[in-house]
Amino acid sequence: MPRVGVFICWCGTNIAGTVDIETVVETARNFPGVVHTADYRYLCSEIGQDLIKEAIKNEKLEQVVVGTCSPRMHESTFRKAVAEAGLNPFLLEVANLREHCSWVHQDKTEATAKAIALLRAAAAKAVLNAPLIAPRLDVEKRALVIGGGIAGIQAALDIAEAGYPVDVVEREPSIGGRMAQLEKTFPTLDCAACILTPKMVEAAQHPQINLLTYSEVEEVKGFVGQFDVKIRQKARAIDATKCTGCGVCYEKCPTKTESEFEMGLAKRKAIYVPFPQAVPNVPVIDRDNCLYFRKGRCRICEKECPPQAVYFEQQDQILERRYGAIVVATGFDQLNPVEYGEYAYGQHPDVLTSLEFERFFNAAGPTGGKVVRLSDGKPPRNVVFIQCVGSRDKARGMNYCSKICCMFTAKQAILLKEKVPEARSYVFYIDVRTAGKGYEEFQRRAAEQYGVAYLRGQVGKVFPDGDRLTVKGVDSLSGKTIEIQADMVVLAAASVARGDAAQVGRVIGINSDQYHFFNEAHPKLKPVETHTAGIFIAGACQAPKDIPDSVAQASAAAVKAVGLLAKEKLQGEACTARVDQSGCSGCLYCEAVCPYGAISAVQIEEHFRGEKLTRIVAEVNAALCQGCGSCTVACRSGSINLQGYTNAQILAEVDAICL
């Protein structure tokens, strides 16, 4: 029986307030193998860790058990402490006395009894712990950024500046993302294009950055340091090496269709660049609309193209490449408010979403920069902004606050006043949320200097009324019902995850929350990490976010990626599967269920009645194994076992917990 030390953390009053530490320590003294017990106010503190290290040396401990917070919180802290005292770091077991006990139970007797049971199980497992050595893995010194919006561009630039090559995969024909669709940015009213375009160009010209636009990630395999990624480069039907970006092709193209970039408010050609400042400035032929692809005739663009760059036969290319780290920055969508029948969206041309309205301010936009009603082309007099359309709405929309709407509405109201000085804005809001540097001042400016009427309340219904819109709402502060004859209604529709976010997450191998926003590894302390090592997230794919936050998060993700790429070797998973070849019958069911292809057949020689026999057994590649343990269950004889979670250890835990 190894010499076991048990250490209990009070975690201030977090554990000690509900769990009777003294009783727990007394009981733990009698667990099999336990030769030393101690408790301390904060075991994770330096003094607390020293307590463990001293005891390991003085008491010649061979196994350590700590009763603390969740192992997902401090397991690595204590492993390090144990290692510093000269023990193998995997000779440590954590009993979760806080998240799984003291915080979820109030009765002290019950919580104490449960703490003892959890601790007993941890001690029973610890007795069977064996020293483990994590394999050292190579790092491919190249990063992949998925998504070419402002977050993706920023992350790519930061990684490239640190000296590592980066590929940026963007689904659309140009990088730029949502920010490229904006006219101005709050709270400074900078022109979005003026600050974004230089960054786009910088990314395109950076020797370490390789832009893969009009491309999608199809498959991600492997693991941190060695992700093997398949990228589909969709056929543009243009030879990018020849194209000069002169634009003759789309001038001459006879087919028009709705522009995605203009939110369907304007037309584009079947051969097109999404917007004038597109990077790369290489058109794409939209095969669903191109006459030649649909009906086999036309080819005008081909004839007109001066450098002969049109190349109809071009096929999709699959690029297979290995990356050490991945940054996911796939952005967001705006909710389609058509479900909200009371706002008449889709029933009247002058009811718009805010992203649609934004395009009205842009000189290259559908109205050439004029704010006019789509119905009659006249400038609006009264514009009603409705906040929280689908946000803070657990009945029909999203339970969360979309965070950016209060600010972009204030911005649009200001821009409106500047474009149409006689226009009057009304904003129906539930709360105005302006947390951010300069935000409150900006919103107050809208109300005080630009005369925007803020009405605390919601709109019951928008009635299309001849050429105008009657908005019926309430100002809850005065208790007055309000009726406004509006010329335009702008809906601050919720920011939502991309429609295919869940699917994309599955391909990449990261999980998402109930709204399909990608999950960070820890809401406070690991905001850009995911649960998959080596994959980081940035921007609005994690939650609704404004530009400053997206850029900050992108730089944070870039630092994490760079930190990883800078490593000579990575430490792999130590808790890997291992085969007992003498028991293995070679059925290879383990190989069939292994998600990493870490198990393969190997021939071994055996002596049988004086003769040499060869037979097949399974073998684990520890560098590939991630330690899920699925193989151990497929193995009927238990000949493949998971180190750190062995069959014997789990049985010991079960036995101990049932005592």
């Binding site: 069911y589 069939a592 009645r609 009927r636 004889s637 238990g638 049985l651």
Partner: protein, 325 residues
């Protein structure tokens, strides 16, 4: 069959003798008569003299495929006589990499179903039978100077009653003419009957059945899917269960024995036939076959070694036997 079995045995002997004497195979696995007339036991034939004892009659129930695992360690190439169930058992072993198929010559024997001595005793109505004769689906039991004739179906082994594949699904050489399709009764009827009981009644039923278990592991030894080099029941580290024949341990053994066959059991019934205390083991196996078929699509183990067993694969839209809310 019994009437002509001498001829059949001779015919079989003729074919395999050629292969054995020419050295095409080093060993032939067949059957020979045992101590009693109603027993046929495995024959390990290496020469002509051994072959003389080869017998093919209505008592060759023992599945010979299982013996390949050990015999192939000492012999380069082994010939084996396979009934329908034995052929599927060979597929099971090939799929599990327990038997290299290329070192086996499989001689197929279409099987009319094997007879159950207990049922013959019953048919003899109290007299001790000393032999049988078979003709046209009838079995005549001789004993004490009296002859009683019963339909063959009535004296079949349980495992043969429900047999769906009496003809070998594959073999290198078919030795006899295939038998016709048989009307097999619904094999899940016993399972369904048990399912209709309450939890407590089911538990009482199994408690009664399993308390007889001696933990002799004959079921395991006979089974073509129990091919592990070391069975979990005999492991010391970890000790999954103790050696004692004790109710909860017996439950554990039998549930896991059956579970290890989930998606793998070929439903040959050897476990139940081998059980010296008559535990209806096949019911547990069939419960799994039935459920897995219902949940994850029809699958018949042992038909095609290339087809992946259902528990080694999945579909993203699989149903579950628990709430997925």
């Amino acid at each position: 069959m019994a009437e002509n079995n001498v001829d059949y045995s001779a015919k079989i002997r003729g074919v395999v003798a050629q292969d054995l004497l020419s050295g095409r195979i080093d060993l032939l696995l067949g059957w020979e008569k045992g101590h009693y007339w109603w027993q046929s036991r495995p024959l390990f034939a290496r020469d002509q003299a051994d072959l003389e004892r080869l017998a093919w009659d209505s008592f060759c129930a023992v599945n010979l495929s299982r013996y390949l695992v050990d015999e192939l360690k000492e012999n380069k190439k082994v010939g084996v006589l396979l009934k329908g169930c034995d052929a599927r058992a060979l597929n099971r072993l090939v799929q599990d990499n327990m038997v290299p198929r290329e070192r086996v010559i499989a001689y197929g024997l279409p099987c009319p179903g094997m007879l159950n001595y207990a049922a013959l005793l019953e048919a003899a109505a109290g007299r001790k039978p000393d032999g049988i004769a078979e003709e046209n689906g009838q079995v005549t039991v001789r004993g004490g100077g009296v002859e009683l004739t019963v339909p063959r179906d009535r004296v079949l082994l349980d495992k043969c009653r429900h047999c769906l594949y009496p003809n070998p699904v594959h073999c290198d050489q078919l030795l006899l003419t295939p038998v016709g399709e048989r009307q097999a009764p619904e094999r899940f009827s016993a399972v369904q009957e048990r399912e209709s009981l309450s939890s407590d009644a089911r538990f009482a039923y199994w408690e009664k059945q399993l308390e007889r278990c001696l933990r002799c592991y004959a079921c395991r030894q006979a089974c073509p899917y129990c091919s592990c080099r070391e069975c979990f029941v005999e492991q010391e580290q970890p000790r999954w269960l103790s050696k004692a024949s004790q109710p909860s341990e017996n439950f554990m053994f039998h549930l896991i024995r059956a579970y290890h066959g989930a998606g793998r059991c070929i439903d040959c019934g050897e476990c139940q036939r081998a059980c010296p205390v008559g535990i209806p083991l096949q019911e547990l196996n069939r419960k799994l076959i039935k459920d897995i078929n219902e949940l994850y699509g029809h699958y018949e183990a042992g038909l095609d070694p290339g087809q992946e067993p259902p528990l080694l694969t999945y579909r993203p839209d699989d149903p579950a036997a628990f709430s997925e809310k």
